[in-house]
Structures are given as structure tokens and as C-alpha cells.
């Protein structure tokens, strides 16, 4: 909202390319109380995601993928180091909530609100707190557009429990998009869906990403999904999670169902898979 007034706490601004999401020297240790056993979830994370980039993070379960995402969302506080979005520390008072959308693993739709009213929940909260300025009517219209974009037109007045798992996840995605954040954080959003729905939503996500030019940080344990979607795949090592490797995905865009059968896709996918064999 008010980037001019932001404190100059950033690290990556003078590196030429401005990172949209930036982790610098981030450690996350759980249970820092002296008497408790501590677990180092993440160690020495330095990671920059450029504006408009699609970056996936993969790694064995328990490697701190979700922790990484929750740090970027400001849900968790780093034990050491800073996480910035658009140059502003996410823990600081200057952090603009309307810049970040988080798509959760499970559907978050509230069961007493219709699909459309669920979409408008973040808008109500952000507007009351002065984080967004547009009128409510503007967002109502936008909600209709988004529901069309994710293929849920006609379900505005349905309640969440009347929808299938895939449809609920579409609601979750559009809910994160309603206030037009420039950063989209996604925590295994399709992990609980069947393979067919997952493929379909992957294509739709890429279409939305293409249309809206968002910066995406995507967490998944599905290596093929990561390769298919991303510009770059970050491999985390098992506990403590560190950046073990970065793989540039140079597959041409727009990607289609066909992309998966290309030789280059198979090559890259094998490269990522190899990584996991080395780790064991």
C-alpha cells in the first residue's frame, strides 16, 4: 500500500533485480525454551523469488516446507534472519496484508457462508482494517469474475459442504485471489485431490498465473507437479531443512497436458528425482 514509507530494512534491493519474496539468513527453531528439546526446522535459508516468478519448493516430508511458507505468510516468526515481501519485513507493522494470498492445503471455506460470501471474507476484514480501498461493490463484481475464472459460475449461493473437494479447493484459490495480492503462497493446494482433478487444476492455475502475473511460491511433495508448474524448483534437504539445490525449469510456456510427454520434461523430472536418491 505505502511502499514509500517502508523502513529500509531490506537486503536484496540493491542487487539489481528486486526480489518479491526474500529469505535472508533465516533459521527456524521450534521449542527454544531451555528446558524443552529443540528442533531446527530450517537453517540458513537464503532464497529470492522474483516478481512474476513461479517457484516450487520440494523436499521429504518434515523438511520444513510448510514452515518456510508460513514464515513468508507471517504466520510464524523466524528465529533468526528476515523474510521480506516486496522489500518489507513481514513481521513489521509496515507489512501489507493485502499483498499476500495464501492457498491452504485444506479448504478454508466457512461452512455458514455461501461460496460468494466466503470469497468476500478477506475483503471485509482487510477493508475494515484499511488495507484495501476499493468499494464493496467492486469486490462483489470481482468475486463473480473470479468464480467464472475458476469454473464455479452458478455456485455463488452454494454452501461449502455442497461442493466436492476439487470445487472447495477452487474456492480457496479464488479466496486468496479476491483482493488481488501480488504474491500467492500455496501449501500443497492439490495434495488431497485425485490425480485427474489435480492435473486439471494445475492447468487452471497456470492459466490464472499467466493472466494475473502473480509471484508464486508453491509447496508440494509431488516432484512432477513441481517441474510442470515452475520456473525454478528448490530442493530442501531433510531436517534441518536447507536449500540443497535449485533447478531451473526451462520448459517453454504456455505449458499444456502435452508438456509432460516432452523429453525435456522427463529429463528435468529425472534430475529432481535423482536428487532424492542422493539424499538417502
Amino acid at each position: 500500500m505505502s511502499n514509500e514509507t517502508a523502513e529500509p530494512t531490506t537486503t536484496s534491493t540493491d542487487s539489481g533485480e528486486e526480489a518479491m519474496i526474500s529469505f535472508s539468513g533465516v533459521d527456524k527453531i521450534y521449542g527454544t525454551d531451555a528446558t524443552e528439546e529443540t528442533v531446527t526446522a530450517l537453517q540458513d535459508i537464503d532464497l529470492d523469488v522474483d516478481a512474476g516468478e513461479f517457484v516450487s519448493v520440494v523436499g521429504p516430508s518434515g523438511c520444513g516446507k510448510t514452515t518456510l511458507l508460513h514464515l513468508a505468510a507471517g504466520i510464524l516468526e523466524p528465529t533468526d534472519g528476515t523474510v521480506t515481501i516486496d522489500g518489507i519485513d513481514v513481521q513489521g507493522a509496515e507489512h501489507d496484508r493485502s499483498e499476500v494470498g495464501l492457498v491452504f492445503q485444506q479448504p478454508v471455506a466457512l461452512e455458514w457462508r455461501t461460496v460468494k460470501k466466503n470469497l468476500l471474507l478477506p475483503v471485509q476484514i482487510l477493508k475494515q482494517n484499511g488495507a484495501i480501498d476499493e468499494s464493496m461493490d467492486y469486490y462483489r463484481e470481482r468475486a463473480d469474475e473470479l468464480l467464472e475464472l475458476v469454473g464455479l459460475e452458478g455456485f455463488e449461493d452454494a454452501y461449502p459442504n455442497e461442493l466436492s473437494g476439487g470445487m472447495q479447493q477452487r474456492v480457496t484459490i479464488s479466496q486468496a485471489l479476491i483482493y488481488d495480492p501480488s504474491v500467492l503462497l500455496m501449501d500443497e493446494p492439490f495434495g488431497s485431490l485425485d490425480a485427474m482433478t489435480k492435473d486439471e487444476l494445475n492447468l487452471e492455475l497456470l492459466r490464472i498465473w499467466d493472466e494475473t502475473e502473480k509471484t508464486v511460491l508453491f509447496i508440494t511433495h509431488d516432484l512432477n507437479e513441481a517441474v510442470f508448474l515452475s520456473d525454478r524448483v528448490i530442493v530442501l534437504s531433510p531436517r534441518p531443512g536447507r536449500v540443497a539445490d535449485e533447478i531451473e525449469i526451462d520448459l517453454p510456456r504456455p505449458r499444456t497436458g502435452e508438456t509432460r510427454s516432452r523429453d525435456r520434461f522427463v529429463e528435468l523430472s529425472t534430475e529432481v528425482h535423482q536428487h532424492f536418491k542422493h539424499q538417502r
Partner: protein, 286 residues
């Protein structure tokens, strides 16, 4: 026949699972009815078959006869009891929600006061009835007496409040981690958390609390009347018991039970309207 009618009704009301649902509901109702008939029949058979003295061991027909005799006096004192229990219940409900919100909103306040709340809740609160009457009903100490009958209102609040408070606290706390994280991401303030999520999540708990709460308010008032002797169902029960008019005592208890059941059912109906996204239960948690 009843089962058929109910099944048809179920079909009409519920389009999808109507047949199954309707049949099940009909079965349940007919079974309850059958149970009631068997119970009353068995009771009557035992009292008659063993030739028990109806003064001490009345059968259902004796109870019915007594009920028709004291029906008029019951109706004249019933408003007193219902008013005390009803007002006490509403006060306890409002108080329980008003106290639960700050206890859940502030961890420090919650940690400080929860042991006290749980402690008082486990105390047999009925046991202090004479003290309540003494403090509220008698003209002692710094306060002017507000009258003996006021103690019955206070009893209703005192007995119903704590279980309803605990239900409300449980309700306001019943928020899952994902939803909580979602609210953090949106930068929701505490009041927004309550306004948009916690209140709705708490409603089923609060309604369950109300079901037990009303029954407890009735018990509080009746015991208050029982001890103080102010005109009401409780005092009436106390006097018939002293005269060992067992049939009348049972008749009075029956009336109390029916009223409580009716109110609990009413709460259930309101709940299923308000909490439309969730299936309501007719029995409270307690």
C-alpha cells in the same frame, strides 16, 4: 399406520435421502411410543398385581387422578416458578457469553481465571441454597432485602451459569489451526476473529449449554422454593412430600419434567434454524 404417515412426511420434506431418513425417523418415534406404553403398563401392573398401597406406591392412573385434582393450584403458582427460572436462565446465558469472550480473547485472563471457573463448576452448587436464601432473601448486612422470592432467581442463575460458561468457552475456543492461520494472513483483529469465526463456531456449544442450562435453572429455582417456601412449584412439592402424598409429588415432578422437555425442544428448534449448516442434537452435553 403412524410409521407410514411419518415416512410419507419425511419423503415430502427431504428430497434426497427422504425415504431412508423418513423411515428411520418413523421407526424411532414408534419405538419411543412403544417404550412409553410398555413402561406405563408395567408400572400399573406391578402396583396392582402386588396390591401396593396407592398412597405410597401409586400407579400411573393414581398419579393421573392426583394430577387432575391439583391441576388448578399448579397453574396458579407455576408462573412464579417459570418466571424465576426463565429470567435466571436468560441472565445466566447473557452473563456466560459476556464472561466467556474476554476469557478466550485474553490468554492471561483465561489462565488466571479458568481454574476458578472449573473449581466452582465442580462444587455441588445446590448445597449452598440456604446461604443464598440467607444472603439474598433476608434483611441482613449492608443490603436491603429484595424479598425472599428474589433468592429463587439468584438460585437459577447460580446453578445454570457455570456449565453454560464452560460450554461457551469451549465453543469460542473451537477454532482449527488452518482457520486461525487464515485469519492471521488477513491480519484479522481479535474482534474480527470473534465476529466472523469464533461466534459461529461457538453457537452449537452455546445451544447445547442452553439445553442443560435451562434444566439447571429450573432445578435451582425449584430447590430455592423448596427451601424458602415462597409460592411456587418447589414449595408445593415440598408440602405434599411432607404429607407423604406420593401421587401428588410424582404428578408435580411430571409437570416439571414436561415443561423442561418442551423448553429443551424449543431450544432445539431455534438451534436447527440458526445453526442451519450443522445437524443439531436434541440432547445437551450434560
Amino acid at each position: 399406520m403412524i410409521a407410514d404417515t411419518l415416512r410419507k412426511l419425511g419423503d415430502r420434506v427431504d428430497g434426497r435421502g427422504g425415504v431412508r431418513l423418513g423411515t428411520e425417523r418413523a421407526k424411532r418415534w414408534s419405538l419411543s411410543l412403544l417404550g412409553l406404553v410398555l413402561f406405563l403398563g408395567g408400572w400399573e401392573a406391578v402396583t396392582r398385581g402386588f396390591g401396593l398401597n396407592p398412597q405410597y406406591y401409586p400407579g400411573p392412573t393414581d398419579v393421573y387422578r392426583e394430577l387432575s385434582r391439583i391441576w388448578e393450584p399448579i397453574l396458579t403458582v407455576l408462573p412464579n416458578t417459570l418466571e424465576a427460572a426463565g429470567v435466571g436462565f436468560v441472565v445466566a446465558l447473557v452473563l456466560s457469553i459476556a464472561v466467556a469472550i474476554p476469557l478466550v480473547a485474553s490468554d492471561r485472563l483465561g489462565n488466571a481465571l479458568m481454574p476458578f471457573v472449573i473449581g466452582v463448576n465442580t462444587v455441588p452448587r445446590i448445597a449452598v441454597t440456604p446461604l443464598v436464601i440467607y444472603w439474598v432473601g433476608f434483611d441482613i448486612g449492608p443490603f436491603d432485602s429484595v424479598g425472599l422470592a428474589a433468592a429463587n432467581y439468584v438460585m437459577a442463575v447460580w446453578v445454570a451459569f457455570f456449565p453454560m460458561l464452560i460450554a461457551a468457552i469451549d465453543g469460542f475456543r473451537s477454532i482449527d489451526e488452518t482457520t486461525e492461520n487464515m485469519l492471521i494472513v488477513y491480519g484479522a483483529r481479535t474482534w474480527q476473529e470473534f465476529r466472523y469465526v469464533r461466534l459461529q463456531r461457538a453457537l452449537p456449544f452455546i445451544f447445547d449449554g442452553m439445553k442443560t442450562g435451562f434444566i439447571l435453572a429450573m432445578i435451582g429455582t425449584v430447590v430455592g422454593e423448596f427451601v424458602s417456601g415462597t409460592p411456587g412449584i418447589g414449595a408445593m412439592a415440598s408440602s405434599v412430600i411432607r404429607r407423604t402424598a406420593v401421587g401428588r409429588a410424582i404428578a408435580i415432578v411430571l409437570v416439571l419434567g414436561l415443561i423442561s422437555t418442551a423448553v429443551v425442544f424449543l431450544i432445539y428448534l431455534v438451534e436447527s434454524r440458526v445453526v442451519h449448516w450443522r445437524e443439531s442434537s436434541i440432547v445437551g452435553e450434560g
